[in-house]
């Protein structure tokens, strides 16, 4: 029976991811990264606090929450959610600390060896929760589920490539040396494989839900899947070859320079179709800002071509737009809506029919949300430009804008959880904790027969 659809630790995943976002941006602001300057230990630390701590934990938390919604099947072993989160956070911190060895902090080197183990445990526990419902016979045929499964294959490859590099840096001679050739592949598998494909899969469902559009699959979705599958095969093939000691041929990057934009293009066409079929005349802020994120996806796909051919500033800009523009803006726009929705369900669903309940929209402040997301988008645009033109001071200023925007979103999320925007007359006397959503005591029903 699809019973407990609210995973009790969802907000802890979201909260941890937000903290990692702030931490990574603070590290970047302190000068750890800049145009043409991504290879110092502190830079790798900042990038991984962002990709692994912010985006990866957020995607995993979102999957733990939404796989039951995607598949209409309960999670397997939901109790693993908290250990998976703690191990993921510990693994991220260990990896970031380990990278500082590159800057001469000798004592940090063992962390490079510990991080892959912690992350493997975190990914494994998460897979143990979400793989059974995803692989159930009834769910495997769903387009959103197939996309998430493809993303999980990419996550495994991401871990293998990352582990090979971390162990090489950590001084363990167990896996083949794949540095530095493995790095571009690792980036591509992470962004074009794991994070983007998971976002594609979940967004099929959530976009249709928020826009009140029919949930239909069609030829375009199959084309997205086909292109993504081919791109992933190219990445995994090149990765396997590299591990076996063969160099990555230039044809791999040429193929990806074609396949990744094609997959993104089909996906954008599919979202445009959902948008056209919507029954909600005026989409809410989360969808309007998701549309801005989709524009960043288009921009990243355009930049990916020269980025894959020439590298340099084009690659920097493409990666930055994909991570901060497409994936982060999408997440930030949806997280506000999702947090208010889950908070509403948690607090007010038990009260429906027993006392007046507010609307979900009353839990948020659309003006603040718009300002935060506008600041974020402006920061991404300015930072991208500063990367293309190699302007370090503008880049740093832009990252400061991103930090402010992220901080404002974090404050807004806490205010949503505390029902701060809601008229006091509609606010219950006791609220659940900000992070752990234990059920609120409500008038109990009698046993019905």
């Amino acid at each position: 029976m699809p019973g407990k659809q609210l995973s009790p630790w969802t907000l802890a995943w979201f909260g941890a991811a937000m903290l990692f976002l702030l931490l990574s941006l603070a590290t970047a602001m302190s000068g750890a990264v800049g145009p043409g300057d991504w290879s110092r230990g502190a830079g790798f630390a900042a990038v991984h606090l962002f990709t692994l701590g912010w985006l990866c934990l957020m995607v995993m938390g979102a999957l733990v929450q939404f796989v039951p919604v995607l598949t209409a099947q309960p999670l397997a072993r939901p109790r693993l959610a908290l250990p998976a989160l703690l191990l993921g956070a510990a693994g991220t911190l260990a990896l970031a600390a380990g990278f500082l060895w590159l800057d001469g902090h000798e004592a940090m080197r063992p962390f490079l060896r510990a991080a892959p183990v912690l992350l493997a445990l975190s990914f494994g526990l998460t897979a143990a929760m979400i793989a059974p419902p995803l692989l159930a016979r009834a769910s495997r045929a769903l387009s959103e589920v197939r996309m998430v499964l493809l993303a999980l294959v990419a996550l495994a490859a991401l871990w293998i490539s990352g582990t090979a590099m971390a162990l090489q840096l950590g001084g363990v001679d167990r896996m083949p040396d794949i540095l530095p050739e493995g790095l571009p592949l690792h980036v591509l598998i992470g962004i074009g494989g794991w994070l983007s494909l998971a976002a594609f899969g979940v967004s099929y469902k959530l976009f249709a839900m928020f826009l009140l559009a029919p949930e239909q699959t069609g030829p375009v979705r199959r084309a997205v899947f086909g292109a993504a599958w081919l791109a992933l095969v190219a990445m995994l093939g090149a990765g396997a070859a590299l591990l076996a000691g063969y160099p990555v041929g230039a044809w791999v990057f040429a193929a990806l320079a074609v396949l990744l934009p094609i997959a993104a293009g089909f996906y954008l066409a599919e979202v445009a179709r959902i948008w056209r079929l919507r029954r909600r005349p005026k989409p809410e802020g989360n969808m309007l800002w998701s549309r801005a994120a989709l524009m960043f996806l288009a921009l990243a796909s355009i930049l990916a071509g020269p980025g894959l051919w020439q590298g340099g500033v084009w690659a920097e800009a493409a990666i930055f737009v994909a991570l901060a523009g497409w994936l982060s803006l999408l997440t930030l726009a949806q997280i506000i809506k999702i947090t208010s929705f889950l908070t509403w369900i948690q607090i007010f669903a038990p009260r429906i029919g027993r006392s007046p309940v507010p609307q979900v929209q009353q839990l948020t402040d659309p003006r603040t949300d718009t300002l935060c997301l506008m600041l974020w988008s402006g920061g991404v645009a300015a930072a991208t430009l500063s990367l293309l033109l190699s302007w370090p001071s503008v880049f740093r200023l832009s990252v400061a804008a991103l930090f402010l925007a992220a901080l404002a979103v974090a404050v807004e999320l806490v205010r949503i959880r505390r029902l701060s925007h809601l008229d006091p007359s509609l606010r219950p006397a006791s609220l659940p904790p900000v992070i752990r959503p234990v059920p609120v005591p409500v008038p109990q029903p009698e046993i019905r027969t």
Binding site: M1, P2, G3, K4, Q5, L6, P68, V69, A72, Q73, P74, A208, M209, F210, L212, P214, E215, Q216, R279, R280, F341, W344, I345, A349, P350, I352, G353, R354, V357, V360, Q444, P445, E446, I447, R448, T449
Partner: protein, 169 residues
């Protein structure tokens, strides 16, 4: 293949604290493995539960223990026949009376359908049936229905574009 050992749930402490045991029982039922029975220990004979569990495809056997507590074993009656209903649907729904209320909730943004359904149910007489037509499977409604002790049965229309839901008040 032997059936797994019964899952035991003692609701005496819960009742002593004045708490409502229904949600705990339904949660235990949800945790059962295939073929696993539920052994319930209660301070009284929980007769109202027998009908609910029969509807969910469980046979029951009860006995009073020497210490005055009642021990009821709910044994699954084997796989339910494929009724074309979504998992979690009440197997006995085919025998429910005709709907007393019909709601067309297509085109409403979530969670509005859930609000309308629960508000309507609250005003209905126990035993009456509500029929609702929705755009999608109301995943967040099901736990609330279970918590309030309502049985439901639902499935997608053959074209996959609307979800049909019956709920017993």
């Amino acid at each position: 293949m032997t059936a797994p050992a019964p899952l035991e749930l003692d609701i005496r402490a819960l009742l002593a604290r004045g708490e409502e045991p229904f949600a705990a029982i339904m949660s235990a039922v949800d945790q059962l493995e295939a073929g696993q029975a539920l052994r319930l220990i209660a301070p009284f004979r929980p007769a109202p539960l027998f009908g609910v569990m029969a509807n969910r495809g469980f046979d029951c056997a009860d006995r009073e223990r020497p210490d005055g507590a009642w021990e009821v074993t709910f044994t699954p009656l084997g796989p339910a026949p494929d009724t074309g209903l979504a998992p979690g649907s009440a197997p006995g729904a085919a025998f429910w009376p005709d709907p007393a209320q019909v709601l067309d909730l297509a085109g409403l943004p979530p969670p509005e359908p859930m609000v309308r359904i629960l508000e309507t149910l609250a005003a209905m007489t126990p035993g009456e049936v509500l029929f609702a037509l929705l755009d999608r499977e109301p995943m967040f409604l099901f736990p609330e229905l279970a918590h309030r002790g309502h049985e439901w049965a639902g499935n997608f229309a053959p074209d996959g574009l609307s979800y049909r839901l019956m709920i017993r008040s």
